[in-house]
């Protein structure tokens, strides 16, 4: 059975539900995950600076020889 995230079943202990409610907010989970930060920290400049820049250069027409 697939349980919806955040849904609390009837027989689930109250302590477990409380624990789930206290899940750290998204920003804190992001900042506590070094490898996710590494991924976005390399991907963002690679896409916006390197790849986009190289695509711009690649579109410059060659001069007729």
């Amino acid at each position: 059975m697939v349980e919806r995230i955040g849904a609390v079943s009837q027989d689930e202990p109250a302590a477990g539900a409380a624990e789930r409610d206290e899940r750290p907010p998204f920003m804190q989970r992001l900042l506590d995950n070094p490898f996710l930060l590494l991924f976005i920290g390399v991907t963002v400049p690679t896409v916006l600076y390197l790849i986009w820049g190289i695509l711009e250069i690649a579109q410059i027409p060659l001069s007729p020889s």
């Binding site: 920003m27 992001l30 506590d32 963002v44 400049p45 390197l50 820049g53 190289i54 250069i57």
Partner: protein, 574 residues
Amino acid sequence: MATIAIPGQIGEAAEERFRTCPDTGLHVHAKAETLIRVNLITAVTFLGIGGLLGLLVALTRWQAVHLLPAEMFYMVLTAHGAAVLLFWIMFFEVALFYFTSAVVLRSRLATPNIAWLAYALMLIGALTATVAVLQGRSSVMFTSYVPLQAEPHFYIGLILFAVGMLITCFIFLGTLVIAKDEGTYEGSVPLATFGGLTGVIIMIFTLASGAIILIPTLLWSVGIIGHIDPLTYKLVWWGMGHSSQQVNVTMHVVVWYTIAALLLGARPLSEKVSRSAFLLYILFLQLASAHHLLVEPGISSTWKIFNTSYAMYLAVLGSMIHGMSVPGAIEAAQRRLGHTKGIFGWLREAPWGNPAFAALMLSLVMFGFLGGISGVILGTEQINILMHNTLYVPGHFHATVVSGTTLAFMGVTYLLIPIFFRRDIVFPKIAQWQPYVFAIGTAGIALFMMGAGTLGVSRRHWDITFTDALITFDYPATAFFMLGLNGLSAIIATVGGAMYVIVVVASIVWGKRRTEEDAKTNPIAPGAAVLAQYGGEDTFKLPGTIVLVSVFFIAFALYYFINWRFLAGIWPMS
């Protein structure tokens, strides 16, 4: 020195030696400590060499002295750039990476033997590249733009150095994993470690860009590849060249927080806000590389303006958050310690005689007012044209990397020597004056080079009188005056740098050994306990900081609009 067992491991390999530092209470892994020491000594050695080479460059630009002949000038300029912009700073950053991971997290360092391999690669690479430059056939300057071609071993040296640095980055990440697995901390990592992580992430992008461009350039230098497109080279190279300077910015911000914590027990105003500012660095700081291509034809204004005037400003926002948080943290800590008189009593009564504190404050002010504001000017496509590729650019990066990063690193050295070498600082009066002397010199270098650049002086020309040139140009007399003042400032900065090297070497060799008793009677880091903790001051009752930040904003706005006024004067609109 205590020996402790590492959980989950059996046998001799499980035992690691730690000591508890009597000055900071930090749990220091012996192998990490040795690596920190060696990297610090290597860094200072390169600073000494590179600084002297810088003096020769400045004395040549001073037209009345004009010390070096042209070929020698470009060779020395190349060696100066490599020695200080790469080797001094990056060996120091390795020490900071190990400090902010293993030491701050009270963990063992991941794979210390591989860390030694990384050190060996970096040292061999640095020496190889330096030898290649000094042989005289690799005077391609720091940027090594194609079609200028260096000897193959110049590129091999840089690649070996970069591989060693990349290994160091993964050792940092591995140490984070070990610390979490072995439960040396709970919850989120302290801010110093998070800042170190930010530096490591930017460094990995930096090194990846370097690999993408330097490996083909090496193959081109040995004849395997026939041609490298100069514009593509420039684009990818600056992904390395400018991003490496962003690692420096990140790490000197880490050093600011670290010195404030060690000396005063200062916490960031808000740990969450400061971490978010580092996140802005992770996302956007590398994109500032684009300001070096703002006048290149063939790349659209959309790419240029997005990467600089939009994304880069988000990174600038991060710097401004740190620029408020660091003095704010100091004000909050000082007020907590009882320095509550008036708006600036906390500042007047701050430990200005402590070279670490003096270096922190001077670095903060000069980075913000000189390096930060001029960086935004250079990052704005329209007004960049006023000083693109002039001496304004070296003026700007001397404000960021020398007045900002180098001065901050010098300051923290006065704390790292007692902590990791267990020695007292010798010649305390020289140490006390050193940050001020160096700051005056480097502020002069930055200001006068920016002044000459505003007058149009080219950033790389050996002789601005254009002797024997077919087409000449007469710079105004003020430009010559500026370069003379730049030479005098370089002499002052060299004296400040020599004071630092003398104090560091003498302290390591002859400094009195610190005992546990010294840590009680003469504490060097009374606030160290907060360094390894998560949490902020959580107060914004900071009248002094608000006044200082307001002054900064007014200066920023004035200078920004003055440059638009200059631009309007160049291109009159009717």
